[in-house]
């Protein structure tokens, strides 16, 4: 972006920087101020909690205990197992969700009949609270009476699959529900992004005789890139932290095969009252996922700038 902006700027770069720096502050401050007040404090509190032995209890005393939580966590096989499940879940859901949503967004961007209806219907999963989604899917996936198995049966396909009850397939099934639940958000985001791709670019390419596929690959996709980066990053984070859906669907079962790390940390804090230890898990998640994201964002920036 700088590469594009700097040479075209009619003003002297130095002065521009100082006054614009102030303008930037003026514009950003109203957003940052409430945020500082209401999010930095709880976040810092939460992060610091990860270095204490805080426990639930009336008048319970809390002490800093350095890295004790982390040495304990290093040997906590269950946590790392759940971390692994979280990675599989987060990447699978994010990637599938992105591909499915991109396809849908491209379709919804076309001038098709009843587009308004399709666009509205595409939003359905989003309009329902996660708890309702989970209850509904449980019913749909009921092995004996659910519509999913009944539909399969009427098509003559195997229809006695115990979708959520078998440890070998529970995670993939939960992933599909996760994709379903998160699709509207990604679709709307990408659709809005597609609308921001200046039509001229496409028209210019069309005049040049570029094929649909080539235009998509060389014009649309690069223009969408900042939005794709932004939404996949957030999707990954949210999926890694997702909680309510799986909590109601399987509560981590069967046999712990869908125990996501946020469920695990939640149990540690809310059920066993080990706030300090749970916050340490949160910190580990921040560090590991954060490191990955920085690498990902760096790579995206670099390829965008080149």
């Amino acid at each position: 972006m700088t590469a594009l902006a700097a040479p075209a700027s009619p003003r002297a770069p130095k002065r521009r920087k100082s006054t614009e720096g102030r303008d930037a502050w003026l514009l950003v401050l109203p957003a940052l101020l409430p945020v500082m007040l209401f999010s930095v404090y709880p976040l810092v509190y939460g992060v610091l909690l990860g270095f204490t032995d805080a426990e639930a209890g009336l008048n319970a005393e809390t002490h800093f205990n350095g890295f004790d939580n982390y040495t304990a966590l290093a040997g906590n096989e269950l946590f790392w197992n759940s971390f692994k499940i979280g990675l599989i879940w987060a990447f699978a859901v994010t990637i599938l969700q992105f591909l499915a949503s991109l396809g849908l967004a491209l379709l919804l961007n076309l001038d098709l009949r009843l587009r308004w209806l399709a666009r509205t219907l595409a939003l359905i999963p989003w309009a329902m609270p996660p708890v309702i989604i989970a209850i509904m899917w449980q019913l749909m996936l009921n092995p004996n009476y659910g519509p999913v198995n009944r539909t399969l049966a009427s098509l003559g396909l195997p229809s006695s699959i115990n979708w959520l009850g078998e440890s070998a397939i529970a995670l993939p099934v939960v992933i599909v529900v996760g994709v379903w639940a998160g699709m509207p958000q990604t679709t709307v985001t990408l659709l809005a992004g597609l609308q921001s791709v200046p039509a001229e670019l496409n028209e210019a390419a069309a005049i040049d005789g570029a094929s649909t596929w080539r235009r998509f690959w060389h014009v649309t996709l690069p223009a969408l890139r900042p939005i794709i980066t932004a939404i996949t990053t957030l999707d990954l984070i949210w999926n890694f932290n997702s909680f309510a859906l799986v909590f109601v669907l399987t509560a981590g079962g069967p046999g712990g095969t869908t125990m996501l790390p946020s469920l695990f940390a939640y149990n540690e804090a809310f059920r066993y009252g080990n706030f300090g230890y749970a916050a340490a898990m949160g910190n580990v998640m921040v560090v590991l996922i954060g490191a990955f994201l920085i690498l990902y964002l760096r790579a995206q920036m670099r390829s965008r700038n080149s």
């Binding site: 109203p30 092995p143 115990n162 009850g165 078998e166 079962g253 712990g256 809310f270 059920r271 009252g273």
Partner: protein
Amino acid sequence: MERENEMRTRTSASVAAVAGLISLPLALTGCSAFGVGDDSDEGGKVTLTFQSLAYQDTTIAATQEIVDAWNADNPDVQVELVQGSWDNVHDQLVTQFQGGTAPDVIHDESADIMGFAEQGYLADLTDLLSDDTKSAVSDDIWGTVTSSDGAIVAAPTLLQSYVVFANTDAFADAGVEVPAGESLSWDDFQALAGQLGGDGGFGLGWGLQQPTAAVMNLSLGFDGTYFEGDAINVAENELAVPERIHAMAYEDGSLDPVSLTQSGSDVLPGFFDGRYPMYVAGNYIAQQITESAPEGFNWAVLPPLAGTAGAVQAANPQTMSVAAESEHVEESAAFIDFFMQAEHQAALAQGDWLIPSSDTARELVAEQTAGENGWDAILASGEGLSAAPFQSAVNYPQWKDQYATPALQQYLADEITVEQLQTQLTDGWNDLG
């Protein structure tokens, strides 16, 4: 230069506009639409908050009636009824206890509150509850609401037990007699399931998606106590119930293994359509059966299941407690006394199809229902409910989530052997140390 100035003033103008927008909600602070500042000052009167988890419409109405009656009798101590939900009460209380904003009177269950009691969040009611309340409930049940330092932290209200529901028409079709008597032994139960099943059909459906509570509670019938103090002991007695369930599912073929991975309500339609002539669930399911069974569906509750130690199950009563930080502990305790009166408990029990822990209320329910709709067997199963050692093992909730539930799920899905189950349960507990 000029242009820049203009730009800056315009920017400042837009900043001001934005700042104005932000302060908008703050300006609305006085506006009661946001609920700010409508704190009611009732001049000397005490107002207690009572969060009830009543779920069935009948129970909600019964609760409201009790509260109304109290409010009419006690103009100086008014109770405000707040509706909570079972699904989230634990998380809600954890947060509210931390913030000191928990309701004065708290409705929950023994398995959930004993951890709060150990953390000091619940008031000691030992000397505050009346003798009438205390004498109406057996010492065994009081044991489930007594903390490790001997303080009573709640009044036990309603109990559930696991019972066997029978489709009596299916029994008749199979030419099997519906068992009667004081209790039904596990051996007879298994034989019954075998007789009713056969020909690829099943004798029994049992929603054991969350198996731990059912297994632990029923194991008491074989003296399977699991814990001695804080030491775990998983031996023959403890494994009897899971082994028998496993045998029915995978050796006799009389129990549908799919049902073991589902919740109780998921299995219910299978009971209705005759797929499962017998169905094991919490006794409160009787309410759903009466309300949603197909026309002409005939059913009964079989006598309570008995192991080698008799028809005993662990009791996990619903509870009424008072927050330790409440400013009105005495008044709250007085309200609980009122709430515990036999006629109130009897009304609530019938609304939820649960068993009153108070003996007098139990007699009242027997009288009022005349034992219809399985009430005689349901009330009988209440006789064998008592406290179990696992209820006072400190790390029990964590062990249950992290080791017992996954291990039992795997065992009941025939993915691990009983030896592996035994090892996982034992080692898991010892890892928690």
